[in-house]
């Protein structure tokens, strides 16, 4: 189990190492001339006012919550799909199919609810 993730770990370390080495190289080669104007955030040439990290629209948060619901659905459903054919061969096709149909129906009802509630309206 762990063995098969070895190459991924290797790739991960290598990718970060590669990126880190290049950034370190720029730090050595590149110029370092610091002045306050250069270090300002870009705001179309005027002095930046206030902090950028203020409140943002609640829609973004709403989308994130909806995403979590649907992604959890995907996490549930995809392994089920992987074993669908095997169950069908074992003669349990209808049973497992109805199970998922029930789950999907609940999901669709939830989807209809958020649609009617206007959670997906962007204006």
């Amino acid at each position: 189990m762990f063995h098969s993730f070895g190459p991924i770990l290797m790739q991960l370390v290598l990718a970060i190492g590669f990126a880190g080495a290049i950034v370190a190289l720029t730090a050595i080669i590149g110029p370092k001339k610091i002045n306050p104007v250069k270090m300002d955030s870009y705001e179309c040439g005027v002095d930046p006012f206030a902090d950028a990290r203020g409140a943002f629209h609640v829609k973004f948060f709403l989308v994130a919550v909806l995403f979590i619901l649907f992604d959890v659905e995907a996490i549930f459903v995809i392994p089920w799909a992987g074993s669908f054919l095997a169950f069908k061969k074992a003669g349990l096709g209808l049973f497992i199919y109805l199970e998922m149909a029930f789950f999907m129906a609940i999901l669709l009802a939830g989807y209809y609810y958020i649609l009617k509630k206007g959670a997906l309206k962007w204006e």
């Binding site: 098969s4 990718a15 290049i22 190289l25 943002f56 992604d71 204006e123």
Partner: protein, 385 residues
């Protein structure tokens, strides 16, 4: 120990080839864009400008690494790594041939879906850490867009998993055949719908036009990467073009038969010793050909379509693609339940869909040539000018 060394060498080759492919693609894209806009594009550095990307990289290497005083220094620094990682690790379980793959993961599809999320985290982190209004807007929009489009993409993948009965990419390739009739796109109408949804969602997840709202140059001054400079900026850039390869590879593996090019491939062939090396090479080239066709289509779309508005983008995802995806996933279950493989209905559907697909492509070329004839436009087919 020797295994460890092999693993290391393979990983290095792998990393470099993706980096080179992504760099090379930036030049290819600019040349194609030039052609589509009746100009030449970069052709000065090296023959036909093919080493332009090295020049760009060297230039970026010499630039100052600026971290704005207002920015959150630590998050600002690590955001590009996350994006870079997200793209480079995604390709690990995708087979380029019977043996040419990093790791044959049994949970390959989950792994890819999970790794794609790294990009979202990186982009949002970069946008937030920059402490710039444009960056924050770009980062938030990008996060909203990417996570939204992951839902239809997951539904489309679900359709493939139902047909293949596995999450392993190599087995998905084996369960499709070499000929177009056996590809999943042309198996049944639901798979075709799934392919379209997946391709569009992949475009949106890769921040490509028409879904490039996060970096809308003319509105958000490049969005989440506004404050980045030098090599860190280049990582975002490299990730975007690396993503093209990822999209192309995923689409051709899941729906277009992957590297499988010869009719008699079966699982038996994957046993070492039974498998001629020339098949491996041909399969690899065939896969690269498919990937490059999809990459070309993505570039073509970029230089043809205008950008969407954010509310349109969200509407397309949540009000059209998610219901259509749900429809396709319910439909494929019914199809798999009532139409057994190699039955008459299955065969008829496969052949009619394949011929429909073929005829559509032929009709497209017919229209192109007819337009050329009517408008009497001259066609400059030579790419090397």
């Amino acid at each position: 120990m020797t295994q460890f060394i092999y693993m290391f060498i393979f990983a290095v080759i792998y990393l470099l080839s993706i980096a080179v492919a992504a760099g090379f693609l930036t030049v290819v894209e600019r040349r194609i864009a030039g052609r589509m806009q009746s100009r030449i594009g970069p052709n000065r550095v090296g023959p036909q400008g093919i080493v332009q990307w090295i020049a760009d990289a060297v230039k970026a290497l010499q630039k100052e690494d600026i971290i704005p005083t207002d920015a959150h220094s630590f998050l600002f620094k690590i955001a590009p790594y996350l994006v870079f990682m997200g793209v480079f690790l995604t390709l690990v379980p995708i087979p380029f041939g019977a043996y040419t793959l990093m790791e044959n993961l049994d949970t390959g599809i989950f792994y890819v879906l999970a790794m794609a999320s790294f990009v979202v985290i990186g982009v949002m982190m970069g946008g937030w850490a920059s402490n710039n209004k444009w960056s924050l807007l770009g980062g938030m929009r990008s996060a909203a867009q990417m996570i939204s489009y992951e839902v239809p993409a997951a539904l489309a993948v679900f359709v493939v998993v139902v047909m293949a009965g596995t999450l392993n990419f190599q087995k998905i390739v084996f369960s499709q055949g070499a000929s177009p009739v056996d590809w999943y796109v042309f198996r049944n109408p639901f798979a075709f719908i799934a392919f379209n949804i997946f391709f569009i969602a992949a475009l949106a997840e890769g921040n490509r036009v028409p879904f490039d709202i996060p970096e809308a140059e003319s509105e958000l001054v490049s969005g989440y990467n506004t404050e980045y400079s030098g090599m860190r900026f280049l990582f975002f850039f490299l990730a975007e073009w690396g993503n093209l390869v990822v999209i192309g590879a995923l689409v051709s593996t899941l729906f277009f038969g992957g590297w499988n090019f010869w009719f008699e491939y079966t699982l038996e062939f994957s046993v070492p010793g039974r498998y001629p090396i020339r098949f491996e090479v041909l399969g690899f080239l065939w896969f690269l050909f498919k990937v490059s066709i999809f990459v070309f289509i993505i570039i073509w779309i970029r230089w043809t379509l205008p950008r969407l508005r954010i509310d349109q983008l969200m509407d397309i995802c949540w009000k059209y693609m998610v219901p259509i995806g749900l429809f396709a996933s319910i439909g494929i279950l019914l199809w798999m339940y009532f139409v057994p493989e190699k039955s008459l209905a299955d065969t008829i559907m496969r052949y009619s869909m394949t011929s429909f697909g073929g005829l559509t492509i032929l009709y497209f070329f017919y229209r192109v040539f007819q337009n050329l004839r009517v408008t009497k436009a001259k066609i400059y087919a030579n790419p090397f000018v």
